[in-house]
């Protein structure tokens, strides 16, 4: 299967990187078998050998089905929203960022209208804030509003 071959090639690339690290670290080692280089070397060789096997040995054949375009956009949207959460958390703080991001997630995953999404998001934010910030005292960024 083509995908397995691609996976094999990726394995070979990672194996090469691992071997490169082993060679880079070798001069600082105590002996051939004792040092930080040995396992990167072993893993590198293993990944290359197994990668070659994945490329050349005929593997299991199966059909990979992707969802329709709309669903793929939704999936991409979720990852985008999660990355956006990282940015918003830094600038707007935990509470506001969680509230805004939750609205987007309820809209995308549950396809709820804005009213319901805002309501669910408010409940979720209050619960998460109460557990992690108020009860467990976990430190989150306060953002520009310090909230």
């Amino acid at each position: 299967m083509l995908a397995d071959r691609v996976g094999g090639l990726i394995s070979i690339i990672f194996g090469g990187l691992s071997l490169y690290e082993a060679l880079r670290l070798y001069p600082t080692s105590l002996s051939f078998y004792v040092g930080d280089h040995i396992m990167p070397g072993v893993i590198g060789i293993g990944l290359i050998v197994l990668g070659l096997l994945a490329v050349f040995v005929k593997g299991q054949s199966f059909k990979v089905e992707y969802p329709d375009r709309q669903m793929m956009l939704k999936i991409a949207g979720i990852f985008g929203v999660l990355l956006g959460y990282c940015v918003l958390l830094y600038y707007l703080g935990f509470a506001i960022a969680t509230f805004l991001i939750s609205i987007a997630l309820f809209r995308i995953i549950g396809s709820y209208n804005y009213r319901k999404s805002v309501l669910f998001s408010a409940i979720q934010t209050v619960c998460v804030y109460a557990i992690f910030v108020y009860w467990l005292n976990m430190p989150f960024p306060g953002g520009i509003f310090n909230f």
Partner: protein, 506 residues
């Protein structure tokens, strides 16, 4: 006697109000995630791992252990009432549980499943009390070569649980190992695999990887499959008659024994033991033709095996530091996050902690039985929560969980990246379990190998000239062959039961 005295000390800690609450929370959360689609015990434990650093190790691990064995109880409900086994290990339960539900005996079947789980779970914990310290005591004699052999055994057998392709499983294992090497080297203190990226110098945190691979990608999968909430019909009487309990006590006991002893073997998951317990019960039954058509023993035996396996898995985990399933591997990461290294020294250095956790498992099992039987109706209602609500909740908790590890957005970023990777790995059937196990065991493997090599001045003979090390290596070879046979057999039984190939990677 010393063991019993230590256990009593453990009870004095486990029965403190805080620890009772933690066991209760763990048991309830575990039951819930065992029933709900889209959130398994592995992801739940991973998300909640950082919480343990706030709660304290004893309280935190008591809660996480509760989630683990609580989920074993929860899984039977949907298998019996709806013929939806959330995990492969629940498939045998559904074979007779669902026909019983169709005959209007779903309530008593759930009751028998809960009682069987309690009996076997308690048997397993009793075994844990006596076996684990014994094994840990023997393991104190281990040096680096023995540890290397032990890690080799764990990795060899567990990687075998890779799924359809051994090559893919091995590649994923090596990839997991490679990820675990990121950061400061164990012997020379050299920075490895950072490629000039500063946050990578501290290494990649396993919890971020688990949250990405198991929680985030699972939400995407659930969304793609348009996971519906489950509508369970009204459940009437859940208390089986005393006669039924007596008739099924033998099945519970046999299932418990199969689950316990096979669960001791690394790589022998509940998926394997439940099928073996079911088949054994069918073989010893005077009416084997009733199996598959609503035989109560067909529910009692696999449910007992399931819970006994979950308890006995704690023996190699606590005594040797070897996780026998994915969930236990994440739990192992939880120990490490709290500065505790499972293995023989754990019993000596953190005796109070170990015995409190073990005692809490007795407490948790009683709680599950006492609380869950009357609450089955309530749990059934909770499964109606739509996925449109579950998904965002899981994602926000995943984000918070990943951030809380080191209060760093880099860990969140890693989780998101592994969420994407996990999605494609699932699509193209690259198993993620070997990656996780090799990630956890990798550093111990490397440390013991390098120490052995330093001891022997580079001679590999050290592994074959020491009796314990040689025995473990031979055992690894035998277990490798045995587990291949057992996995093939289980795969064929699963195929017979569900009509298609299923990846058994629990």
């Amino acid at each position: 006697m010393e063991t019993l005295s230590l256990l009593l000390d453990g009870f004095s800690v486990a029965l403190s109000p805080t620890n009772i609450m933690m066991a209760l929370w763990g048991a309830l959360i575990g039951t819930l995630v065992g029933m709900l689609p889209g959130l398994g015990p592995t992801s739940t434990i991973a998300i909640l791992l950082p919480v343990t650093t706030v709660l304290g190790p004893t309280e935190g691990i008591i809660m996480l252990a509760g989630i683990y064995y609580g989920s074993m109880y929860g899984g039977s409900t949907t298998a019996i009432l709806l013929n939806i086994p959330g995990e492969v290990s629940a498939v045998p339960t559904s074979l007779d549980g669902y026909p019983l539900a169709k005959q209007g005996r779903g309530g008593p079947a759930l009751g028998i499943a809960a009682i069987g789980s309690f009996v076997a779970g308690t048997m397993g914990v009793i075994g844990l009390v006596f076996f684990a310290p014994l094994l840990a005591d023997q393991a104190l004699k281990f040096g680096s070569p023995e540890y290397f052999a032990l890690m080799f055994l764990a990795l060899t057998v567990i990687v075998n649980l890779a799924g359809a392709s051994l090559i893919k499983g091995l590649i994923m294992g090596l990839f997991g190992y490679l990820l675990s090497m990121t950061g400061i080297g164990l012997t020379g203190g050299q920075v490895r695999f950072s490629f000039g990226i500063e946050p990578l110098e501290a290494g990649i945190d396993i919890i971020s990887v688990v949250i990405g691979l198991f929680a985030i990608s699972e939400v995407i999968k659930g969304m793609e499959e348009n996971t519906k909430s489950i509508a369970v019909g009204k459940i009437t009487n859940i208390y089986p008659k005393f006669k039924e309990i007596r008739e099924n006590s033998g099945a519970m006991f046999r299932g418990g024994l199969v689950g316990f002893f096979l669960g001791l073997l690394p790589g022998c998951s509940a998926a394997v033991t439940t099928f073996l317990a079911y088949d054994l019960e069918k073989k010893v039954s005077k009416n084997p033709e009733r199996f598959g058509h609503g035989e109560m023993k067909g529910v009692a035996a696999p449910e007992a095996a399931n819970n006994a396996t979950s308890s006995s898995g704690f023996i190699p985990l606590l005594a040797l530091g070897i996780p026998s399933s994915t969930t236990l591997a994440v739990l192992l990461a939880g120990f490490m996050l709290n500065g505790l290294t499972p293995g023989p020294t754990l019993f000596e250095e953190h005796s109070e902690f170990v015995w409190a956790v073990i005692a809490s498992m007795f407490v948790g099992n009683v709680m599950l039985l006492v609380l869950n039987l009357p609450l089955i109706g309530l749990w059934a209602k909770l499964t109606k929560i739509p996925y449109g609500i579950m998904g965002p909740v899981i994602l926000i908790l995943s984000f918070v969980g990943a951030y809380s590890i080191n209060n760093s957005l880099f860990d969140v970023f890693v989780a998101i990246i592994f969420g994407v990777i996990g999605y494609f790995l699932q699509k193209y059937r690259w198993p993620v379990v070997p990656l996780l196990l090799a990630f956890v065991l990798g550093p111990m493997f490397e440390k013991s190998f390098i120490q052995s090599m330093a001891m022997s001045k580079g001679s590999f003979a050290i592994f074959f000239t020491r009796p314990i090390s040689l025995t473990i290596l031979l055992l690894a070879l035998v277990l490798f062959v045995v587990s291949i046979v057992m996995m093939k057999r289980t795969k064929s039984r699963v195929k017979d039961a569900v009509g298609s190939d299923v990846e058994i990677t629990e």
